[in-house]
């Protein structure tokens, strides 16, 4: 009897687990796609009924033809790869600068006083205002495009890092202090793990800012890239190509965003506490 019960419990627990991961697989995707699919369906119908002017909103089907065309000519891939490269450089440079400075600013109040107003000033400046200065300092090659992207990603990462560090539980900091952690250890072993969730939000925001900044970045001397694709298409009033650019950015961005969230939950298994509602 006892053995049977244990087996039953174990089966239950397994089905329970499977159910949960079921939701996270197909169910999640279906739910996530419902809304976009409805929008696209309405849009297609509206386009066929000529309710909307194809000059602005070509029908989804005609966009997908252009999509396939550009894919098969390999053009879209080139644009995507070029942009992706800029984006990855820019994003990593921004993270590499913003996280350490963010930790310093969050941790050291004096440092905060020194740099806060300057950063708070720089934060507001439109990227386009930087372009002449970037051209002057960095030329018109990749460097200045990457700089625009760095600027786009810097502040979300920075501010969220500061916030994360400021809201580290002071009790845990005391534990670190009482165990005589060096400042470096303190950052590595207390601040960063505590602030990780908030920093990740900064990274996600920073990344999406990168995508958004592509058009601006590729205003500087770019013959290839998704941003320049959109700009060109705009100048030629080729709405279908604009949408191809938008969809590519949206989907690529979504995938990388998803990746980032996966990395986050892999790095932080204890985060599920926040879903489970546990005690400590």
């Amino acid at each position: 009897m006892k053995g049977l019960k244990q087996i039953m419990t174990s089966i239950k627990s397994q089905t329970l687990k499977r159910n949960i991961s079921d939701i996270s697989l197909s169910g999640k995707i279906i739910r996530g796609l419902t809304f976009p699919i409805i929008v696209i369906a309405i849009w297609e119908v509206a386009a066929r009924q000529a309710i909307i002017d194809p000059y602005f909103l070509p029908s989804p089907s005609s966009i997908s033809y252009t999509y396939i065309d550009m894919l098969s000519s390999g053009l879209l891939q080139t644009h995507l790869l070029t942009s992706l490269q800029r984006l990855i450089y820019g994003f990593f440079i921004a993270a590499t600068i913003a996280i350490p400075i963010g930790i310093l600013v969050g941790k050291t109040r004096t440092f905060r006083h020194w740099v806060n107003p300057t950063l708070s000033f720089l934060q507001q400046i439109p990227p386009i205002a930087w372009i002449p200065i970037f051209i002057l300092w960095l030329g018109i090659d990749e460097a200045s495009k990457v700089a625009v992207i760095v600027y786009a990603a810097f502040f979300p990462i920075f501010l969220n890092t500061v916030q994360g560090v400021i809201s580290v539980d002071p009790k845990l900091i005391e534990v670190g202090r009482s165990f005589m952690l060096t400042p470096g250890e303190m950052i590595r072993r207390v601040y960063i793990p505590s602030a990780a969730m908030t920093i990740f939000v900064g990274l996600r925001l920073g990344l999406s800012n990168c995508w958004r900044a592509l058009v601006g970045a590729e205003l500087i001397a770019a013959s290839s890239g998704l941003g320049s694709l959109i700009m060109d298409a705009r100048n030629f009033s080729q709405a279908d190509r604009i949408f191809v650019g938008i969809f590519t950015i949206g989907v690529a961005g979504l995938l990388i965003d998803y990746l980032l969230r996966r990395i986050e939950s892999k790095l932080m298994p204890w985060k599920k506490m926040y879903q489970a509602g546990g005690q400590s």
């Binding site: 005391e174 009482s178 165990f179 005589m180 072993r189 204890w270 400590s280």
Partner: protein, 245 residues
């Protein structure tokens, strides 16, 4: 005897928007090498504040702490704290939390040290558990393991056993006395339990509240292991309970 820890004339007042709280007034005592002292007193009398000041985590308004004759400012390698709440790192497993303070040891040494310490606190089956998966008493035991593994000269413990049942507590108390006798550490134990204080320590500081002062210092003359049922023990306990508290 040489005093390893000296607390000299500590005053501490907290200032708030709604008023001030004089938490400690003129606290002085010394702790000679290898001594086991406990501090008892009513809730809110300043026990934790005193311990935090000794740990270097809080600055007194007046007075100073010295360790082996040197003025101690801030925390030091010589002291480890078991806080009143467990304060485990939520992102570390039980074993990693316990090993948090261990330094300069090889992997094997850490492992064997952890083995013995986790056994000591009865958590050898929960090595891989995260703090949110522990019961209140288990979490507190991890915190004790963490402090003990740090091997400080002075062990500062803030009501470490208050979340434990009688049996577990008795075992842990026994282990603490063993550890103390084996290593010759100094221990300062904050507790609200006079029985515990008399059972474990050589000297009991009895505090009173508002402001927190040391009302009386009681030497406990019994040898270890102690028996709570002897008439001398009961007499001393009764004396403290009725006269002092």
């Amino acid at each position: 005897m040489k005093s390893i820890l000296a607390v000299k004339n500590i005053n501490k007042t907290f200032y708030s928007d709604w008023g001030e709280v004089e938490a400690l007034r003129s606290i002085s005592f010394a702790c000679s090498k290898g001594e086991f002292i406990s501090i008892v007193g009513p809730s809110g009398c300043g026990k934790t504040t005193l311990l935090r000041i000794i740990a270097g985590l809080e600055n007194p308004n007046e007075g100073e702490i010295s360790i082996e004759g040197n003025h101690a400012k801030g925390p030091g390698n010589d002291r480890a704290v078991v806080f009143q709440d467990p304060r485990l790192f939520p992102w570390l497993t039980v074993e990693k939390n316990a090993a948090f303070g261990i330094q300069n040891l090889s992997k094997e040494e850490v492992k064997s040290k952890l083995d013995s310490i986790l056994k000591l606190v009865g958590l050898e089956n929960f090595r891989k558990a995260f703090p949110y998966e522990l019961s209140g008493g288990m979490a507190q035991r991890v915190a004790i393991a963490r402090a003990v593994a740090f091997k400080p000269k002075v062990l500062l413990m803030d009501e470490p056993f208050s979340a434990l049942d009688a049996q577990t507590r008795a075992r842990m108390q026994l282990e603490l006395v063993n550890l103390w006798q084996k290593t010759g550490k100094n221990i300062i134990l904050v507790t609200h339990d006079i029985n515990e204080a008399l059972l474990l320590s050589q000297k009991v500081l009895i505090m009173s509240s508002s402001p927190g002062t040391i009302k009386e210092t009681v030497e406990v003359p019994f040898s270890y292991p102690r028996d709570v049922d002897t008439t001398e023990f009961l007499r001393l306990k009764k004396h403290i309970t009725s006269n002092v508290f």
